[in-house]
Symmetry: D2
Subunit: 359 residues, 4 copies
């Protein structure tokens, strides 16, 4: 089957990331078009991502001279709606400002184009409901919303643990969401709309329930923010099943980015966001789980190794340990086997690298 | 530029993983051929990886009926050397038994094929040196060895920290390498050859120095192993620059898989393998670093989100939060903004899901 | 100066602990009397704590035959008010039920006796205020309340850090208070009165401010408790300075006892109750501090060593490493010095223990 | 029974600590005499520790006017051997230089005085053996050696875990011993004699076996030390039962003080010195144990609370939360009970502190 041809609308920080992801790290997809109100940055991005192999020098691609790299490149489309409608675009990533989402989503629905839409879906509940209804009329789900935490390995493992029932019913969530700093244009409402919205999805998803009531507390703000701005905020969500979540959002924490979630259940609690997987308190113990084997532990290493080897090989290079490293390891292991047998220190007899490699 | 066409030789646990990685998770590469002494498992794997979209049902691929999925599938080649020589194979991954590596590596060099060779390079230092020399004569590096730890984010961050000089010169390494259990066929030599070899590469790589002497101590073995088998083992590596590494390898640890490395330097120590990034003791403190922003923290989540969205979209499905989730979040945020303003609890007015979606 | 002569009123779990603490672990104090509504347990405790040296056998005290152990013993007093009034009682520990605290506290004030009163001070705010006023009229503070967390090394270090101003002004507290299980007689009110009361003191003490408003949320309870019982509870405290604390109290957590406090300040957060001192997120890092030297690290070990040595010596015994351990260490160090000099393994020449000690 | 009357020989850093410990923190003991080659510091210490209550002002002791504080004070003895022989000294703590230990220990044995002797027992194995033999002839153990780690709660818990057999037989120890810095007079031998000696005792004690062979490796030293000084050092101990311990000692680590011990056993490993109790890897999990109840968690807090209350009470003061704190807590809890019942925020009605206390 041929690759999915993807167009990206909006190539600010998030959209540019997604465009590069599709072009360089995603299997089975190809970036074909980008659109942005700022045409300059769209063109710069398209040029950068049309080059391949990334970082390659002109000479190193000689052996692939039959390629049609630029012919297969990324084009810039002026009008987002034109990109959405284009025949050579199979699917769309929307990373444009939230205020234009509604129009662009309706266009995707009209053209039957699957779309991955960064949050927020739209700017208010009424227009979001119209989108839901329009999609429903199509009889087919085309819209996915960019609540990416559901794909984070830690959140996914937490969800799996809670759903397993091992800890009993989940009773309470304690969530923390902190950014290093927010710009000067920051207003209190943005905490709710841009940050807390992730916690809203996390609570709904983990409990598989709707939120029925919300209280937002305003502690006396940090002195970093201007008058009338409330940061941090402390929200309490009440869910349809009687569960409760409290959420701290603090976007001028100064320290760094931190997202944490502790689920308190009938027979234990589980926390993620500490950087060490799912940390549980259960069965009179605190801690986490050991990886079962090397594939679990080093899965990401293998992924990166192979992706970088493919990228380098396409450039005619290698990008990792070479034959000498394999040889040196063999020589040490040989000496190690002799020491294992004798129980005494054994010298490693290594050929002279300069002699062998002429360096 | 066209995708790199990869052939995999040896599709046991490791080779099958690599084959799937190339087929499903690596951008810019295509799996075209596999070979294995066990033809049955080569054919099963080829069939599984030729199917696309993975997990798709027959109906869901209807809209891509023009595709040539099976025509582009993965073929099985009987003879590994034939696979290496094949015109439609641009590059090779060797995951065959170490005892046949030498012959296959020479074939790769003969055909000018880039090769990612799982460790060990070959079974002894003498034959490994012949490989090094043969590649050197070609005047071009074609061989990369599968010491994948160099690509692990934790090891890479440790290497970067040590190379930065922030902690001064590195003096000592303490390494631990534990497997849950080894099979009954396990012999003492395998600890050195199959497990300790990774620590050999880690020590050489982190210090950027060769190992000049090795001592392997044999503590009284765990009672799990049979007579005459030494597990755990404790090795001391002495390096050309006077640094020392000690390495525990214990392949019947019972608990799980664990790989740990502590580098002790002049002004602090840094440990990885605790599952929480680089853990340092430096400047009167212990701990780690906060992620700078959400892209660092959630990079893997974004990668997975987009890969799964692409995979699902190619099947004509979605695989993540849908429009209703976007709508519900919008409704809660609207209530949150009202509570932020009033300071009191606010009910969330959500449309009736059954009414809207007819479910 | 002579020792402080202490009487303990109420020798249930907490009072018996305090009585033993005064008798066995506190310098400068002597337990002279106990009272309890259950005379039997008061007498059993008095008998046990009058014996000295604890755990000593009859023979081993022979050399101290001139002692007057039993003449100096702990007597049982029927009436708590009589104990409070007794001439040979310099100070009182109240560990009786809260319902009799008011009367006993007034008695202490009447007799000018310093008193350490377990929480609660009294059962309601009105009677507590009368106690405050009565003490104030005396012109001298005699009453200390048993909010022992202020003396916990972790809480004390947290308080010191927050007061230092290093993290800026404290904005929010997140507190967690969990017990393994509460008995069947447990009622919802006890969470507030017996458990949350500690969090009330912690919040007042850390902020050095009064609490002006409290909201107690009732999530759907754990299924372990009976109908109409609310466990866990989630309280929000608002303080006079605009700060906010949220507090989870969960007395049937099943896992174990857990008390945690995270203080979120303008330039970082600090958490205690993880069992590893003050854990901070500050200056782009997470973690804690290294002990400066061995006295900080091993202070408790030295205290225990000397207390146990004194106790054993009074019994005519030793209770720790003996002369042979000192000799064996000397022999290994001598061999170690030889190895340090030669760089090779050195055998340890140890005398035969059986020959030397005839064992 | 009367208190144990203790004399301390040698009041440098360690001896002064011990003297204060006996005088202020140990139940059942009284410091009666000190001796030191530096008479000035012996007198300063005696004067400081004769004052009681510590930190008290003259006026505050008025009500104890019948006391005989100075009559019961600490006297300075010129000759250590005279202190050891003195009739009013029941037991001795030796914290003098190791070079005079042998003579002073023989004196203790001659006078039948129990003695707690700081390490080393003596300066070499031969003289240490003479001490062992002399004590053995007495037929009674009088000597305890100051290997205080055996009394550290973490080491004690580790020993208990290993002895329980839950993890199977212990196979290997990995020990780390780091100091922030050593003075300029530091010589390589001191690592073995003063620091590694603790690891020697730990290995002997945990395995309950003698060490039969030792190898001391010398990595290229940190650049902080002068020529010819070896720091860090890496020792390998081989024990009579075939177990092995490796030990890093690094006395110029710059960061802080760190002592760590990982015991690797047949079914898991256990580490202490991370500051969070016994950290295990066992049963597919990593982590530690939750405290069972508040007495375990807050034992030290209770000890400190009561010791400080006793000390303050003897000075006629209080040193902790007072009646107002008890009242304020009662008022908040009353409001909390109202909120528990109503589910809404409740204001806390607190009397005006200034009115009540006139402050």
């Amino acid at each position: 089957m041929s690759d999915l041809r993807v167009g990206v609308v909006g190539v600010g920080v998030m959209g540019a990331d997604h465009a590069e992801r599709v072009a360089r790290k995603t299997s089975g997809a190809r970036l074909v078009a980008v659109a942005d109100a700022d045409h300059g940055r769209a063109e710069a991005l398209a040029a950068r991502l049309s080059e391949w192999p990334a970082g390659g020098e002109s000479g190193s691609t000689a052996r692939h001279s039959g390629g049609t790299a630029y012919g297969e490149g990324v084009r810039v489309v002026e009008d987002p709606l034109e990109l959405i409608a284009a025949d050579d675009v199979d699917a769309v990533i929307l990373a444009s400002p939230g205020s234009v989402h509604a129009e662009q989503l309706f266009a995707c629905l009209d053209h039957g184009k699957p779309v991955l839409c960064e949050k927020p879906l739209t700017m208010d509940a009424a227009s979001a409901l119209q989108v839901v209804e329009a999609e429903h009329k199509l009889g087919r789900q085309l819209i996915q919303v960019g609540f990416m935490r559901r794909f984070d390995p830690e959140y996914a493992a937490l969800k799996q643990l809670l759903d397993s029932g091992d800890l009993g019913r989940t009773l309470v969530l304690h969530n923390v969401h902190r950014n290093k700093s927010a710009g000067p244009a920051f207003r209190s409402e943005m905490i709710v709309r841009d940050s807390m919205v992730h916690e809203v999805d996390v609570a709904r998803w983990l409990f598989d329930e709707e939120i029925t009531r919300i209280t937002v507390h305003k502690p006396k703000p940090t002195s970093v923010v201007g008058d009338g701005v409330f940061d941090p905020q402390l929200a309490v969500f009440e869910l349809a099943n009687g569960a409760i979540a409290d959420v701290e959002v603090f976007v001028n924490f100064q320290v760094g980015y931190e997202v944490r979630c502790e689920a308190v259940a009938e027979r234990g609690s589980a926390t993620i966001g500490l950087g060490s997987g799912v940390f549980t308190r259960a069965g009179e113990r605190w801690g986490g789980t050991m990886p079962a084997d090397f594939r679990t532990r080093f899965e990401q290493a293998y992924d990166v190794e192979v992706q970088r080897w493919v990228d380098a090989t396409r450039r005619g290079e290698i990008d990792g340990p070479g034959a000498w490293d394999g040889y040196a390891a063999a020589a040490v292991c040989e000496a190690g086997l002799a020491s294992l047998s004798s129980g005494t220190p054994v010298e490693v007899a290594l050929a002279d690298r300069g002699n062998v490699l002429g360096t």
